[in-house]
Amino acid sequence: MEFFVSQFISSLSITSILLMIALGLAIIYGTTGVINMAHGEFVMIGAYTSWFLQTKLGIGLIASIIPIFIITALMGFLIERLIIRHLYNRLLDTILATWGIGVILQQFIRLTVGSELKYLEIPSYMAGSMSLFGQQVSIYRVFIFLFAIAIFILAWFIIFKTKFGMKLRAVTQNKDIASCFGVNSGAVYSATFAFGTGIAALAGAFIAPLKSISPDMGTNYIIDAFMVVVLGGVESLIGTAASSFIIGSTSSFIASFSNDTLAKALVLVIIILILRIKPEGLFTRKIRS
């Protein structure tokens, strides 16, 4: 019994991190079809912004949530306006263009902040651990889990319960028809891209204390995020949450009897196999071609 509880908790913790990282990507990919290879770099930007605000301006992690989101969202908005906008009819090229953006963001950080590792301590009031179902669990990881759920619900609420969300879903289904009914598809695309990058930055800010911060930390997040989105299918946020859980628990299960690296490798292999049979992901209905 002991094993299952700790197993379940660790898989929830990995799931919440995966969900936070993948959510921004799923929203952008689901609505605009753009494959944002710079998504990892936006996670990195979030981490560095949080580090900057904390060490240079002494703003705490929680207090810096809004500024991190706004700064990165603005950056995402600019990049969409300048570059991505020209590529909506050449989606395969968005992979290349966004990867190029990733390179630029990395080098920009290396030139300004430098390449040596940075560390973000967990805020003191969350540093300890608490008992949960008889297991000692770090408070911070519980906080991340709750925060991930909060972001997910926020994103879900915006998309499914607001007028903007409805416009966004209308544009996703049929861009031309949506514009025939007064929806400025261009603005919706820009807002979606900014929203997605903002969430990626928040993920970065909250994951940073668990690991070190370096200019190229984004690279290993991009593949995880992609696997979650691709496996989950793009039609629904629920699909993204479900596939985060599947990948989260599988990798934590494999890791329990081997190690993280092998776990990651095996999970990737499983996903490649699944995609061979069901390319459109697990949670999408077969739609008329």
Binding site: M166, K167, R169, A170, Q173, N174, D176, I177, A178, S179, C180, F181, G182, V183, N184, S185, G186, E235, I287
Partner: protein
């Protein structure tokens, strides 16, 4: 109400329609007829601003809209019913109709509920399947939903692209009567592309015939005679 002066438009580089001069006065019912592939839909897409490139001027209720983007043109007062109906498959009937309200102008927002009731009276079937997804509706139901949605933008002119195409005859009858009622009783200006020449002859005030991207014939609807049909439509 709607005036086009030597309008031409292009798919990429290739010219699709050329030298189009057309006027639809307020309260008029104007039919566009012609064989398939002659540019009828292209003309409506040009008015909506969905073409790659367009020349000439398009004027709606005295305002030049040719420079505006599609979404701003819709807000100026264009109610569009596209070919193939363009229903949002994952949205329910209710959500599809709410999409129609996005283009309403600020000043007539209060009459939204009133318009909802009005359109649901016109098309009672929509009320019956209120929560059903657009993708699961039959052709006829989708068509009625598409018209209801366009009406909800409180348009200055209703633009319909082959609304009776591929729909069973009884529903066609209903749609035609609704359009005539909207035009005659509510003075709604309508421009419609239609294969069914009989309906145009009965309902429209005037018409234009499109051939290879140009208006080659037109006038009041009584001018539609069998030899005109023979010459341009069947061959």
């Amino acid at each position: 109400m709607l005036k086009l002066e030597n309008v031409a438009s292009y798919y990429g580089e290739s010219l699709a329609i050329d030298q189009i001069n057309l006027e639809v006065k307020e309260g008029n019912f104007h039919g566009i007829i012609g064989k398939n592939g002659m540019g009828k839909s292209t003309l409506l897409k040009t008015i909506m601003g969905l073409m790659d490139k367009t020349d000439g001027s398009i004027n709606l209720a005295g305002k030049d809209i040719s420079k505006l983007k599609t979404n701003d043109r819709a807000i100026e007062g264009l109610g569009y019913v596209p070919q193939g109906r363009g229903i949002m498959p994952q949205f329910t009937i209710e959500e599809n109709m709410v999409v129609g309200t996005f283009a309403r102008q600020k000043n007539n927002m209060e009459s939204v509920n009133e318009d909802f009731e009005f359109t649901l009276k016109l098309f009672p079937i929509l009320k019956k399947f209120w929560k059903r997804r657009g993708g699961d509706l039959s052709g006829g139901q989708q068509q009625q939903l598409a018209i209801a949605r366009a009406l909800l933008t409180k348009p200055k002119i209703l633009i319909l692209d082959e609304p009776t195409e591929g729909i069973q005859p009884n529903v066609v009858e209903e749609i035609e009567n609704v359009l005539i009622k909207l035009n005659k009783e509510f003075n709604l200006t309508i421009i419609i592309v239609e294969q069914n020449v009989q309906f145009i002859k009965k309902a429209a005030n005037n018409f234009s015939v499109l051939e290879r991207g140009r208006i080659i014939e037109g006038g009041i609807s009584s001018k539609i005679t069998s030899d005109l049909v023979q010459k341009y439509l069947t061959i």
